[in-house]
């Protein structure tokens, strides 16, 4: 057992037992980051901050005054604003941007004693499912298919987070999930990813993609670690009007609940014709595991599922087109000079945004424009309400839903790049829950015949992360998934 393969829970106990120090734990991770630099998981490494915080952590541990994550080295998705540290959203347009403020989530993680290792790569402005649209180059999945040296994508948009955690560069990482950006990369990299209920974690200080969907969450190697990390990340924030005032339950405590007596809904719409056979088989295996643990599978229907992706690709770009208007070269980030204000805008935004971001701004601008608003945006909002109602009705028949996280395992870097729609299909199983605002996790549950990880997704009703954690823990126990580290 090396220091970089410890889980957060294990490291927490060993730090408290003084078996290891925060400084050596941090140094081990900094060394691993250097060793695996080729993964391109980090946009910015912050070893100085890491070492300083590790020292503080050891001091706190010595005093016996150490909050939950004291000394735990974490990576931060480069969508979270971090005070004095370059924050890029993996976009050229934020060139040189060092915020003078700290996002609520990272401030909470800091207050919980964690050690920031650096800022993790993502798809530009979190728009993508492969972490290949980053201005700072693609991140490489630490997993390789059997007998192949081909570089695979880590999924996205939180691909840097997934690769860092899977490869042992960080014990955990923050992600953000708008349509699957935590869950899909977690599945591709064989780790656990949790998207909490919309409103559970504050969005304040997180660079916005689609405000009504964006939600921060943890990415870790075990379900327990996600429970520990989420506990430290969430809670009401008066600075975010969409942040919930509900009391936060004890997530770690919910892990041992088991699934006995629970009804697990199996939505038939998630098993389309031609679903990848290995994905389908693993899903069946998951159902069997839960049944063995005392749960009852029930068939449910989410009839509007097929409209989820088109709905998402109207709502998310619409919000993004407006959210990204502030990147205009006037106050921060990149500016390309022009003869007039309009020319400065066009030149700056043309140089600053990559093709996928430009595509979504154009789509979003189009669906909001006069004459098209009713047909697209307004219609999409109505369908979104129907999708949310599908889930509400399903949860009258069951306690949780079990589905595959993604329709395929990780694919090679370079595949699907010429066809945006094929890329968008990656999110087909994760997007509906995002539209409904319900919590979901991805748990690594097995390998394909080529040795690539696959994940299962657990969905529960709003604010019921406890059941989501209990089911996820049961799956993890049954799957006995063999991690990379």
């Amino acid at each position: 057992m090396t220091l970089t393969s410890l889980t957060i829970a294990e490291a927490r106990d060993q730090l408290r037992a003084k078996k290891i120090s925060a400084v050596e734990l941090t140094e081990a991770h900094l060394a691993e980051m250097t060793k695996q630099k080729a993964l391109n998981a980090f946009v910015t490494e912050t070893p100085d901050i890491a070492r300083a915080r590790a020292k503080e952590a050891d001091a706190a541990l010595a005093k016996g005054d150490a909050p939950a994550l004291t000394g735990i080295p974490l990576g931060i998705k480069d969508l979270f604003c971090t005070e004095g540290v370059l924050t890029t959203a993996s976009s050229h347009i934020l060139d040189g941007f060092k915020p003078r403020y700290e996002s609520t989530v990272t401030a909470k993680l800091k207050a919980a004693g964690s050690v920031m290792l650096g800022k993790l790569n993502l798809d530009e402005f979190a728009m993508g499912s492969s972490t290949t649209t980053s201005y700072y180059g693609p991140t490489i999945n630490p997993w390789k298919a059997k007998g192949s040296g081909a570089d695979l994508v880590p999924g996205g948009s939180s691909g840097g987070s997934a690769a860092a955690v899977a490869g042992g560069l960080a014990m955990g990482a923050t992600g953000t999930d708008t349509g699957g950006s935590i869950r899909q990369p977690a599945a591709f990299a064989g780790i656990v990813g949790v998207k909490p209920t919309y409103g559970r974690c504050s969005r304040w200080g997180v660079v916005a993609f689609a405000s009504s969907l964006d939600q921060p969450g943890p990415m870790t190697r075990t379900v327990r670690d996600s429970a520990i990390m989420l506990q430290a990340m969430c809670g009401h924030d008066p600075k975010d009007s969409t942040s919930s005032k509900l009391a936060v339950p004890d997530f770690e405590k919910a892990l041992s609940r088991g699934v006995k007596g629970l009804k697990i809904g199996i939505p038939k719409e998630y098993r389309p014709d031609g679903l990848n056979a290995e994905v389908a088989a693993l899903w069946d295996q998951g159902i069997a595991w839960l049944k063995d643990a005392g749960a009852t599978p029930v068939d449910v229907s989410l009839p509007h599922t097929k409209y989820a992706l088109p709905t998402y690709y109207i709502v998310a770009p619409a919000e993004a087109s407006s959210n990204l208007a502030r990147y205009d070269g006037v106050r921060f980030g990149l500016r390309v000079a022009g003869q007039s204000l309009d020319e400065m805008y066009s030149k700056t935004r043309a140089a600053g945004f990559g093709p996928e971001v430009r595509r979504r701004i154009l789509i979003g601008t189009y669906v909001l424009s006069a004459g098209y608003y009713d047909a697209y945006y307004l219609k999409a909002q109505k369908v979104r309400a129907l999708i949310a109602r599908d889930f509400e009705q399903a949860f009258t028949q069951c306690d949780a839903l079990l589905t595959p996280t993604a329709p395929t395992p990780a694919f090679a870097i370079g595949a699907k790049f010429d066809d945006p729609v094929a890329m968008y299909l990656n999110d087909v199983f994760t997007v509906p829950a995002s539209l409904a605002g319900i919590p979901g996790s991805s748990v690594p549950a097995g390998l394909t015949s080529t040795g690539l990880p696959l994940g299962l997704q657990v969905l529960t009703k709003r604010w019921d992360e406890e059941t989501m954690f209990a089911v996820s823990q049961t799956l993890e126990d049954a799957a006995a998934f063999k991690r990379l580290v």
Binding site: R203, E319, R326, V330, R331, F332, L341, A370
Partner: protein, 485 residues
């Protein structure tokens, strides 16, 4: 009197609707908590939210909401218990977010009315279409550098109430009365200081014309940002005449936005309909719908002050004032209060006359507001008391008043100091009259013979003999008796 403009082809009537932007009286901005002090150093009142920094989120300022509801109640308008903030998207250098948070199809206040007090004493109700809350933009300063534009964001994010009238106004005069009345109501409520010079109240006028007798609504032009009541009236008249000239020449009016140039008294095209922005309004996903409960509205209602219309009616009914005098007194709350202090326990008509003719005359001449009046309400009341108990004649009272204005002294003290007490002792007056009669027997004979005009000469002599202090009524009575044939 109907306002009719003569054209070559016939008589025309003007149709006017006004949009007033009234800055909410509040110490903090609408969504950011930054201060709103007028005239502060450029860019010193700007939060990260106002500057549109990445990841920043708006949080509604409850005080501004209360101010809008109060205003709605003051306009006897429908308060919408659920309203929605929407983004109005456009690019400009002084609009940091790239959108203005406003309200679109669900404003906080619905239909109401403003009653105009016409000079002939009649009233006319003008419909209010809606009132909504929105953010102000920053200021672009183009004249500080030959090539560059400077941006001051102090105003960015300040709360505005946009109050939209129905197209009910029919003359520049009505438009002026509407603005003055609206200003008066806002100032009574304390929701806007109504200061047009400082820009805390700005007006856009929508103007069209139609042949007298017609009910059609012809193409209108919007004249933007006119910054005084007088200019609004001039701009409307100019614009109406321009429309008539175009129609008379067989042309058509294009819907467009125009600017009024007060120096040249003309309007100029700013942008045509084709160039108009497509604002791509959509509900702001960072903010929840604004939901007001009955108790909140009821509390604000119970705290409403007496408003100008009610006060005016009360002044007419309780004090017996003319509608005109009541109007003049109630236009400013402080004026009305001053009057009521003076009138308390005294003859209200005399009090009104003194306040309007004498005090307002002085204040106008000195360019002072009532708060800076050199004569206090109590002192003016005391002066009226001296008049009422015959200590002073009205001529003497005016003299004392002038001294009060110059010195700020109380009337009692002035009378004391200068021995200005009116002589009401019949004996003293009689002695003076007797002396004059004795010294001028020829004149006594003449008047007794019927030369009535000589009574003025006797009055003058008696006044001179008493240093002007003789009570004029008593003197007249005495002379009449003594000089009777």
């Amino acid at each position: 009197m109907a306002y009719i403009l003569k054209g070559e082809t016939g008589d025309w009537e003007v149709v006017i609707g006004l949009e007033v932007h009234a800055q909410v009286v509040s110490n903090a901005k609408l969504f950011s908590g930054a201060p709103t002090t007028f005239g502060a150093e450029p860019n010193s009142q700007v939060s990260f939210i106002d500057a549109g920094m990445p990841g920043m989120l708006p949080v509604i300022n409850e005080h501004c909401v209360a101010q809008a509801v109060k205003t709605g109640l003051g306009l006897k308008a429908k308060i919408n218990k659920c309203s929605v903030f929407a983004r109005k998207n456009y690019f400009y250098a002084d609009l940091p977010q790239g959108y203005q948070i406003s309200q679109y199809d669900q404003p906080i206040v619905g239909e109401g009315a403003i009653v105009l007090d016409m000079p002939d004493g009649s009233t006319r109700a003008i419909g209010v279409e809606r009132l909504h809350l929105e953010q102000d933009a920053g200021k672009s300063i183009h004249d500080m550098h030959p090539q560059k534009t400077f941006i001051d964001l102090n105003r960015a994010g300040v709360g505005l109430m946009e109050i939209v009238s129905k197209p009910d106004l029919r003359s520049p005069e009505e438009a002026g009365l509407y603005l003055k009345k609206l200003r008066s109501i806002l100032r009574y409520l304390g929701t806007c200081d109504g200061n047009m010079e400082e820009g805390s109240m700005r007006c856009d006028a929508n103007v069209s014309v139609r042949p007298v007798g017609s009910n059609e609504l012809r193409t209108r032009c919007e004249i933007k940002n006119v910054n005084s009541v007088r200019f609004v009236m001039m701009a409307i008249e100019h614009e109406a005449r321009r429309h008539i000239e175009v129609y008379d020449a067989g042309g058509t009016i294009n819907q467009e936005t125009r600017l009024y140039d007060a120096n040249r008294d003309e309007t100029r095209s700013m942008r045509s309909k084709e160039m108009a922005h497509d604002y791509r309004y959509f509900p702001d996903p960072d903010l929840l719908p604004l939901v007001l409960d009955d108790a909140f509205i009821a509390k604000l209602k119970s705290e409403l002050p007496e408003l100008p219309d009610d006060k005016k009616n009360r002044f007419v009914k309780d004090y017996g004032l003319t509608a005109y005098d009541a109007d003049v007194l109630v236009s400013e709350r402080e004026n009305a209060q001053f009057f009521e202090t003076v009138a308390k326990g005294r003859d209200a008509k005399i009090a009104a006359n003194w306040v309007i003719s004498n005090l307002f005359g002085v204040l106008n001449k000195q360019g002072k507001a009532i708060a800076e009046s050199p004569v206090s309400a109590d002192d003016l009341g005391a002066l009226l008391d001296l008049l009422a108990d015959n200590t002073l004649s009205s001529r003497m009272a005016k003299e004392v008043f002038e001294i009060m204005v110059d010195t700020g002294k109380a009337p009692g003290a002035i009378v004391e100091e200068r021995g200005m007490k009116q002589v009401t002792d019949t004996g003293a007056i009689e002695a003076a009259v007797d002396k004059i009669m004795a010294e001028n027997p020829d004149k006594v004979a003449e008047i007794r013979a019927g030369k009535d005009k000589l009574i003025g000469w006797f009055t003058g002599q008696a006044m001179k003999a008493t240093q002007g202090k003789a009570n004029p009524a008593m003197l007249a009575e005495l002379l009449k008796k003594k000089l009777a044939p």
